[in-house]
Symmetry: C2
Subunit: 357 residues, 2 copies
Amino acid sequence: MTPTRLEVGSGEAASTVWLGAGTLESAGSLLVSPSGRYLVFSAPSAGEAAGAVRRALDGRILLDASVDDREAEKTLAGVERLVDAALAAGVRRDDAIVAVGGGVVSDLVGFAAAILLRGVAWNAVPTTTGAMADAAVGGKTGVDHSRGKNLIGAFHAPRAILVDPRALGGLPERDYRAGLVEAFKAAWIDDAALADRAERELPALLSRDEGALLELLTGSVRVKASLVTEDPQEKRGRRRLLNFGHTLGHAFEAAGSYRDLKHGEAVAWGIAAALEVSCDRAGLPLAEAERIRLVLARLGPFPEPVRDPRRLSGYVSLDKKGTSAGLAAVLLEAVGRAKVEVVPPQVWLEAAERARI
Amino acid sequence: MTPTRLEVGSGEAASTVWLGAGTLESAGSLLVSPSGRYLVFSAPSAGEAAGAVRRALDGRILLDASVDDREAEKTLAGVERLVDAALAAGVRRDDAIVAVGGGVVSDLVGFAAAILLRGVAWNAVPTTTGAMADAAVGGKTGVDHSRGKNLIGAFHAPRAILVDPRALGGLPERDYRAGLVEAFKAAWIDDAALADRAERELPALLSRDEGALLELLTGSVRVKASLVTEDPQEKRGRRRLLNFGHTLGHAFEAAGSYRDLKHGEAVAWGIAAALEVSCDRAGLPLAEAERIRLVLARLGPFPEPVRDPRRLSGYVSLDKKGTSAGLAAVLLEAVGRAKVEVVPPQVWLEAAERARI
């Protein structure tokens, strides 16, 4: 099967995304390294996909290292470990890194690539639905800080991203479903037709049908590509729409110590809260909010988040999306249409208490 | 006095350099912050200049912190300390940082700005001749690694750079002279007329004459601006010429544990070695090499570097300027004309033994 090719960003920040079942087999020709040499960092859980990458790059691998893919490893110290390993292996400025794993791996390894020798090329081979739909695409890389998630990082786009449903291998059911939240999110903010189709295909998606999954992933990457290309560094443009559900999502995740909720689950709750605010302030019809909640319910059930405003408020106000003027947040006007509006933190904290799925 | 204004780079990577005696007094209108708020990080040795910045930004300073300006602090852990302080102060994406100090401060603080919230704006107020001529200009930021200098970093250009000879305050004589090496370097690689004038003005320069110093600094920033604008990320273009003297310079510095030689002194020795290689391989006339050595001698004397090839070789081969094809190094063809050539590490190690000032 010929893979679908999508371009994200432009110039220095350009990525090529290849989507298709079996794409991994062609990794040898699709991954990009200026020198032809690769450093492969893979998560322990990415066994099958890492094996395919290894076979495809045979003879061109300078370093083949494992990377801890727990959120607790997403720290500057974790990045330093990767940098140490790459320098010990003799990495050069024109070599390239390959990150094989979920969102933690692409955030962490991508950030190491961003700061190693002031930036070396990298490629992403996502092995979770969340990383395929979102984390690996768009060039955001980074690590967490005790004060909040992704507070340290860089924009550093991977040269190539291989999205192959077969790389999902033994992805646990809970991770599979949580990751789909990010794919649906893209549809809800910018592509009503995609949302309609994916909703109809939900049973096939939940049974991991390759065709249905590829259609949703391709649609969501297409949305992301268009928003990221318009506004690569999220200055003030439409890229911010991709943060739908993330203002509270990050706070829910942090309040649960990045342990109680998967990222996608926290975003699901963040979306549920954003639906409340959107109905109140952006004219989102109640019926459309209900429709989205129904999809979230079928992707769940998700563990209950921390809703106590006293525990959430510190995380909400520290969100990167905050500026000195207030908290720029994403509201939905209708399925397929979103906007950015400055909303007081207090409104979000109240919505966190009301949110339901 | 109206300051001279030079533009370096373009687009996202654009910096405005203001050069003039008394420029610091106008810091309030020349420094740039999207939100109007500033976080000031200053070296203990930058007392006078930091005071001027504080007065100029009165009422707009969110954080006023001291930063350790020893090379040993230029580590990821050192960056993390700055990031912690900025987050604790409540930094927002649209705030700006001001780095007041020498090259260590602009490298370290600039890199913190690069990775904080995936990049906040920053400004440089250099307080050493080295930082004025080189370190603060051009957007290279970063920290050291046990395997070599500046192996971790990012390209993140300051919005504004204020070059005011009055900021040199109590700069020790040895630092003052070492920093001039970088200013002369710019002339030697790209501006023969500037080199001629600066050579004639050497007595005035050594007595810290403001006019002579500003002329040399303005000329060297102009050279740097033109090379950086052509090739902002040092891909394969002429920006590399600025590394003249740095291939061995970094190795000398590392072999002396960043303690025995100042950066500019190590670069002086690196230039002396590059003169040997340039006479052998790039047709540099012996008389021109001698002329440059004479200037270096008058800027010195500099402490003797480590010349043992066994101690230098690891540092030479790990230099960022290395690619998998070899070590791209800068050779001088004549005063004012340089070129990049791949030279085997062995040739550099031999030149290190022969170099003389």
